[in-house]
Symmetry: C2
Subunit: 311 residues, 2 copies
């Protein structure tokens, strides 16, 4: 099933202990689309400015991403984010955010995007997420991401948006902040009470955990000696996860399938952080993804053997 | 193979969002011994004061723990720790530490303890750990824990102690602090360069990761709705892990066995945090341990299926 994603298309300026980049291709919809493109056709909905060069659009097209719904706003500037990471790459500081064309963004989906069966609402204003959701009435699987800013400034809208989707994919800490629950299990229960059947907590370097109708699942992050740039890891995870679901139109959307989707999301995220921005994913191969999923299975499996305990 | 543990025997005063306890039985050697007692005979080496009642010794004896090497210091006071946990149970604050009899502790092991084949050096002064290690020359598997205080005040001694053991079990953050490496893989490589072949990082609510000669393994924590008191979780993990190893005298100490040991450690730790101090472990059954290990296997396994990726 084709996938539609709405979210930011951006230029990112990033500094990490391993180097820095100025104005590289980024944004949640871009990271998501490149990752999901390994599984299904992806349509990106989002605005860009005059400053967004065709070479960046070609980077998406080379992976088969459909760019018909990328709206170029004459006289506008593309969304820009500048951030810096310290040695603890979990801890990032935003130095600058320029909304540019995103300030006036009103999503207008083409017929092709509206007819999507799988939809990802990346981290944007919750009311915009709801508008897009409403335009895709026939979608069979809708997932949503968000962030602390919306939890703090638009919580009611966010909860309303969440109540209209099937799956929530949030950072661990943001899930607790949103639900005011101390554990993932309690947070997931509360979110599931609002509507979604699937809740995923992204735990950064520790991996990800999930609750579905059938129970709990957790997977560590793929072990890496060096993380060069964590920017976009969460969106790549979502791209791998949602993309995997979309590639299985005829299979039941059950716990087992969603667990495998977690593994693909984890693999995509792990490649993403090995280099700056989209650099690694742009030249990733499907064989590399399969290799890492197989390795993830191997390094998380223990073979149970009954042990006669003492008493 | 019987297990000897050297470490603190203590009274803990703990306050968490779920309640509080004054002067309950605690200490690293106690938590470790109760957990390991499900797998093998355990001997505890450590000092207590006049204030340590026989009912506490009986709590150890009821689980078959050998208390011959628990030294009662006349006129002394038992080690005392007071701490408080906030809503984020990963973050604890020490309000009071009274070393008591621990200030003058010089471990003198009985013949029975010296002949141990498995030894756990719980978190005490690294030079004391080395003295005990030297007394147990015939030990086949020696594991060590430590903490930030020793990394900051006795790093050279700690590195020397580490070079004399087979396995290091440290908190994730402390492993990074000790090695000054940003990732677990790099930290584990450095520690393995000092001598130990097995390095385990305890990651609190996120579980634990391990590197052995044969590679990497990771396991999430057992999912719990409520953690009542995390005190002693790390020692219970070590008790389950080391106890499992000790119970397999005739099996090769390979990666596969150590992965299973991680699962038993994880199960013991998860029960420990469900109630205050040693309360839950004191009435734990071996069936409950087996049940949780089986459940851990189930909630971490995904069944790989080849997926024809797009390109």
């Amino acid at each position: 099933m084709p996938v539609t994603v709405v979210g930011s298309i951006a230029f990112d300026a990033v500094k990490t202990p391993f180097g820095e980049r100025e104005r590289m291709l980024g944004g949640s919809a871009v990271h998501f689309a490149l990752a999901a493109s390994f599984f299904e056709e992806v349509r990106v909905v989002g605005p860009i400015g005059d400053d967004f060069g065709n070479e960046h659009l070609r980077a998406l097209q080379r992976r088969g991403v459909v760019i018909d719904d990328i709206e170029r706003v004459a006289g506008g500037r593309t969304f820009f984010w500048r951030g810096v990471y310290g040695w603890d790459l979990n801890d990032r500081q935003t130095l600058d955010t320029q909304l540019g064309v995103f300030a006036e963004f009103a999503p207008k989906l083409s017929a092709g995007s509206r007819e999507t069966e799988v939809l990802f609402l990346a981290n944007i204003q919750p009311e915009l997420q709801r508008q897009v959701r409403a335009q895709c009435a026939g979608a069979r699987f809708v997932a949503l991401d968000s962030m602390n800013f919306w939890i703090e400034t638009a919580r009611d809208s966010l909860v309303a948006a969440i109540s209209e989707v099937d799956c929530v994919i949030l950072n661990d800490a943001e899930l607790r902040q949103l639900t005011e629950e101390p554990s993932f299990l309690l947070a997931a229960r509360k979110v599931r009470g609002w509507g979604p059947s699937v809740v995923v907590a992204k735990q950064g370097e520790y991996g990800a955990a999930m609750v579905t109708d059938e129970g709990f699942f957790a997977l560590p992050a793929f072990p890496l000696e060096t993380v060069v740039d964590p920017t976009g890891a969460g969106d790549c995870f979502a791209g791998g996860f949602v993309g995997y679901v979309a590639a299985h139109r005829d299979a039941p959307l059950d716990h087992e399938l969603l667990c495998r989707a977690m593994a693909y999301g984890t693999a995509l995220a792990s490649y993403n952080v090995e280099e700056f921005g989209t650099e690694r994913i742009q030249r990733l191969s499907s064989e590399e993804i399969s290799d890492r999923v197989a390795e993830l299975s191997r390094i998380t499996r223990f073979i149970e053997k009954p042990l006669p305990l003492r008493r």
